[in-house]
């Protein structure tokens, strides 16, 4: 009874802590196996998940690669179709070259032949309006061999021809100037020739200067390989210029002088010097030129 009284709550704690605190009864022997089973059961779904993830990832990569390839295919298809349609509409550069070769370009390349042929044509045709553009063709070319070309014009310089040629010279000169900027010699003539070829038709129908810039621009656009666009704006109409030119072309001396002036100005243009269009009988106030060659943009306003 004494002991019971002396037994404090802390003693109860002590007894239990001492006796039960560090008991280590042996767990059932199969408990480890059960634990392993459970761990496998738990890890199995995880493994399945990890198996699923790469599959998904692979599927994703597959879809993405498929997407990329399809996009690339679509882009290339659109590009090729666009190129084909563009070529159909405007004519391929090869065709242009062939056309140019077939027509007069080959002959034009050879300068002596030109000198021989150009007068023939003017003589046969008799139509001065038709001849005029041809002369113009030759004039830009003449920059390569200026003296020879100048001889041509001097030789067959008819008053009308010169008179009607002069306004067109103004349009073609820039074309030549641009061509002179380009390093490729083979393509340059093609621009000029093409432009002049197109210029022929409007010249016959209506020799208005407004039409010619457009045709020039179109002709320039024909070259797919080297897109050269030339925009020419004239603020003043050419009729007065033509009139003055006609006046100026009354005398043979004057004609010769005019022709010389034209080639002088062409040379000046080619060499980058100032051009005095009034000297060649053009009294337009302003001629604005602008063109794109490759990525470069050239623009020039010529005060006359």
């Amino acid at each position: 009874m004494k002991e019971e009284k002396t037994m404090r709550p802390e003693d109860v704690d002590k007894i239990f802590k001492e006796r039960l605190g560090n008991t280590s009864p042996t767990p059932p022997t199969d408990l480890w196996n059960r634990l392993q089973e459970r761990m496998q059961a738990e890890t199995a779904p995880q493994e399945e998940e990890t198996r699923v993830i790469p599959l998904l990832a692979r599927a994703e990569t597959r879809t993405t690669t498929w997407l990329y390839s399809s996009i690339a295919a679509a882009v290339s298809l659109v590009l090729s179709v666009g190129v084909v349609f563009y070529n159909i509409q405007t004519g391929t550069p090869e065709v242009n070259e062939v056309l140019a070769d077939k027509s007069k370009t080959l002959e034009l390349h050879e300068k002596p032949v030109i000198t021989a042929e150009a007068p023939e044509m003017t003589a046969d045709a008799g139509a001065t309006t038709e001849k005029a553009p041809k002369e113009n063709n030759l004039i830009p070319q003449a920059t390569d061999a200026a003296p020879a070309a100048s001889n041509i014009t001097e030789a067959d310089a008819k008053p009308n021809a010169v008179a009607k040629a002069t306004p067109k010279v103004a349009h073609l000169k820039p074309a030549k100037a641009i061509a002179a900027n380009k390093p490729k010699a083979t393509v340059q003539p093609a621009v000029a020739y093409k432009a002049s070829e197109r210029a022929e038709e409007p010249a016959v129908a209506a020799p208005q200067p407004a039409v010619q810039p457009a045709s020039l621009a179109r002709a320039a656009a024909n070259l797919n390989a080297e897109p050269v666009e030339i925009i020419i704006k004239r603020s003043a109409a050419s009729p007065p210029a033509m009139a003055s030119a006609e006046e100026a072309s009354k005398g043979l001396d004057k004609k010769a002088k005019l022709a010389k002036n034209i080639f002088k100005q062409v040379r000046n243009l080619a060499s980058g010097e100032n051009v005095e269009l009034s000297e060649v009988g053009i009294n337009a106030d302003k001629v604005a030129l602008s063109t794109h060659i490759g990525k470069q943009k050239f623009s020039k306003v010529i005060n006359l």
Binding site: M1, E4, T6, P9, V12, L20, P25, T26, L35, E42
Partner: protein
């Protein structure tokens, strides 16, 4: 294998290390579970779940405290979880045990399993608090947090548990004598 190596092995999910860990701690932790849970099956289940959690979260173990303390805490929590499921924690059953006048004090002769049986006669709530306070050594604040009760409840349940055990111990003693 040192404890650090064992932990490192378990962190790599090395099966050998896991088995070694189990062998090292299973008996002790089985004892912990048995102190809380009447049913041996429940104790085994709690032990298994506890080890699963240990393997799962061993990566998060920081070597700040003792590893054994960490393992024990997991086991205690697991056992308490079972206790909540199986036995209503706070159901205080009136001690209607017929107190037998004891002739001697609680004695060393009482076997471990007898003490365990005594412990199992306690209502679940009392048992939990007594286990946590007297044996595991938690403070009332911690116990209150673990069981979701107030500190006051923890204290009162402890004193009631003690009283009951005291009576039974003396009763046992009386029977034994």
């Amino acid at each position: 294998m040192t404890e650090a190596e064992l932990i490192a092995g378990c962190q790599r999910a090395d099966t050998k290390a896991q088995k070694l860990l189990y062998e090292r701690f299973a008996p002790q932790m089985y004892g912990v579970c048995l102190r809380y849970l009447k049913n041996e099956m429940d104790a085994e289940e709690a032990l298994l779940n506890g080890f699963m959690k240990i393997y799962q979260y061993i990566g998060k173990f920081e070597a700040k405290g003792s590893f054994e303390g960490w393992v024990r805490r997991i086991m205690v929590n697991e056992a308490l979880g079972f206790l909540r499921k199986k036995e209503p924690l706070h159901l205080a059953i009136e001690d209607n045990h017929v107190q037998v006048a004891s002739t001697g004090g609680a004695d060393q002769e009482l076997a471990e399993n007898e003490l365990l049986e005594l412990l199992m006669t306690l209502p679940a709530g009392y048992r939990a608090v007594f286990n946590l306070y007297a044996i595991e050594g938690y403070a009332h604040k911690e116990i209150a947090d673990m069981l979701g009760i107030t500190e006051g409840t923890s204290k009162s349940q402890l004193s009631k548990a003690r009283a009951m055990l005291q009576r039974r111990l003396t009763g046992k003693e009386a029977i034994a004598v």
